[in-house]
Symmetry: C2
Subunit: 346 residues, 2 copies
């Protein structure tokens, strides 16, 4: 089949690789109908060591179940499913706590691990199929596919940031970052009832979309000026809930700086440093900092009806669609911020 492999920083190729097959009895093979390129794919795109064998890429997909192993009993052949970016057994103590990304038998797709095939391909092997795959209603409208695809990562990740940041009815939420996750964070904050939604970003086309998703204020300043501006917008107090959707030191410092005393920061941008800035600021403000890889699987039941009803349209974050042969150019376009988020249609 055709698949996307990254052979080093900036070196993405569409290639022929063997078709995926069942390895464990708990596996399924899914034929991918839509996948996408993630902001987190841009990290290896900037930094991956060169290799001859290459790394299969992609961790977000919607597709049709093609084969199931002998121990797969929930997921059925022929079903349309969403594949979250992490696989999980659905039965361990962490899965029962809705923390599927900490599953004792889980892992992450497209990260180079032995069980972690790539979704930017014609098909993918899915370990722990029963716990991982989320069956879609048979009558789901094709026009909803982009939004359903966001359940695999960005919408669930925005939701996780909002949940961890404790967004509730009538509160002030601030979102640091205007990428696809930040925009989904706006949707999540609106959906959870935030009254004022401030988005920090400087790309007009993205912040315009943020406004359509429910943002009430846009702050284009960064660093101390951005903090100052958010404080002006919040009676000097800051936001109850801050969604950190970037992961850089500067954005983390900003996120903590704009949180109100006693507030919370939900981090979903993968932190690029092992030390976190703003530790004393967070401490003296009694600000809680939480978050991590989103248990996207856990949020699907909750988010699906709003997508089916058209109440939320996270699929609008896709502004480009490519075939498998054009995936390398999709990476280039996202890396150069020419595209916000790229959908892949194998």
């Amino acid at each position: 089949m055709r698949a996307t492999l990254m052979h080093g920083a900036g070196d993405v190729r569409s290639e022929d690789i063997p078709d995926p097959t069942l390895v464990e009895p708990t596996d399924a093979v899914v034929r991918v109908t839509a996948a996408s390129i993630c902001g987190s794919d841009l990290w290896p795109y900037k930094t991956l060591e060169p290799s001859e064998e290459g790394r299969p890429m992609g961790h977000e997909a919607v597709g049709v179940v093609e084969e199931v192993g002998d121990e797969v009993s929930i997921v059925k052949r022929g079903e349309m499913v969403v594949m979250p970016f992490a696989f999980s057994d659905g039965t361990c103590l962490f899965c029962h706590e809705d923390l599927h990304t900490e599953c004792l038998h889980g892992g992450f797709f497209g990260n180079g691990g032995p069980d972690a095939g790539g979704a930017q391909a014609e098909a993918i092997r899915v370990p722990q199929a029963d716990g991982t795959l989320f069956p879609l209603p048979t009558d789901a409208d094709e026009a909803l596919m982009p939004s359903l695809l966001t359940l695999s990562d960005v919408m669930g990740t925005g939701q996780h940031a909002a949940v961890v940041a404790g967004v509730t009815e009538g509160k002030i939420a601030a979102i640091v970052g205007d990428g696809a996750v930040g925009l989904c964070g706006v949707i999540a904050a609106k959906r959870l009832g935030a009254e004022q939604i401030i988005v920090l970003g400087r790309h007009a086309d993205r912040t315009d979309l943020a406004r359509e998703f429910g943002a009430t204020d846009v702050v284009s300043e960064r660093g101390p000026e951005g903090v100052e501006r958010v404080r002006e917008l919040t009676d000097g107090l800051g936001a109850h809930s801050v969604l950190e959707c970037v992961g850089h030191d500067e954005s983390t410092q900003t996120a903590i700086g704009i949180a109100r005393a006693g507030g919370a920061v939900g981090r979903v941008g993968v932190p690029q440093s092992e030390t976190m800035p703003g530790s004393q600021t967070a401490f003296f403000g009694n600000i809680v900092v939480g978050g991590g890889p989103a248990p996207a699987r856990a949020y699907m039941d909750d988010l699906l009806p709003d997508i089916l009803d058209g109440k939320i349209e996270p699929g609008r974050v896709f502004d480009r669609t490519v075939g498998l042969e054009e995936v390398p150019d999709g990476y280039r376009a996202m890396n150069e911020r020419e595209a916000l988020k790229v959908m892949v249609r194998p």
Copy 2:
């Protein structure tokens, strides 16, 4: 009156200073019957710049209200009260959220600020008396005074760590640090229903007391060995709730390292660095890090009955009592870890 002033690192003196008087109509003057030296007083004891005027020290006290300003209506002259380490108006939005240490009109005693007199003295001016002072029952047993005094800081601080770390019935709590706050954290974790309580400390007399307070396990190893040991004690998973009661980089790293995925760290040790270690570890474990200066005032209503009933005895953390003239030696003894916590009886 006699009072304690710090004139620089290691330079604590008992001196004559003017008696405190009412300045604002919301003030009270409290005659101190018992005060204490706090672990946090040892930071200026190690680092304070020399000064001629000196800084009035002490922020934990029990005493009798001697005078009240015209606008003080709740607190009465002659009442026995606990004075928490921070003053607060009791009416602002943060006080209403039980976050008195973030009060819009509040501040901290004994930190050198203009409204921040010291409690290691015969008397102290208390701003925002109605919001700050906590009246005690008239029949409170003198033998309970040490425990009641801990409501001013260490018991409330241990409680805050446990609350922020989300200690609940049947969970595993781990306490990093065997100082007075850590020991009160053990009491708080036990009181909130933790089933397994692991204390990390290496002073046998303190960890023995921790066991009497309810600790089920003691880990004397530090750093990666300490993390390893806690994991062994918790089926490899770590503790649901970790109370960080030290504030050093190493202890913070340990606290995050021993937290279970999806768990929480409640920090009450004042962080000595502006960057926090363990940021990625916390992120990939979806571990929440919260905490800050404890709203000791907010916890008094809840903790008082258990002290009056003898259910908890946090006053046992005091292992030395001195008069005002011996306070300098009290600092020395605590700094040299000869004493765990020193009570001051003016």
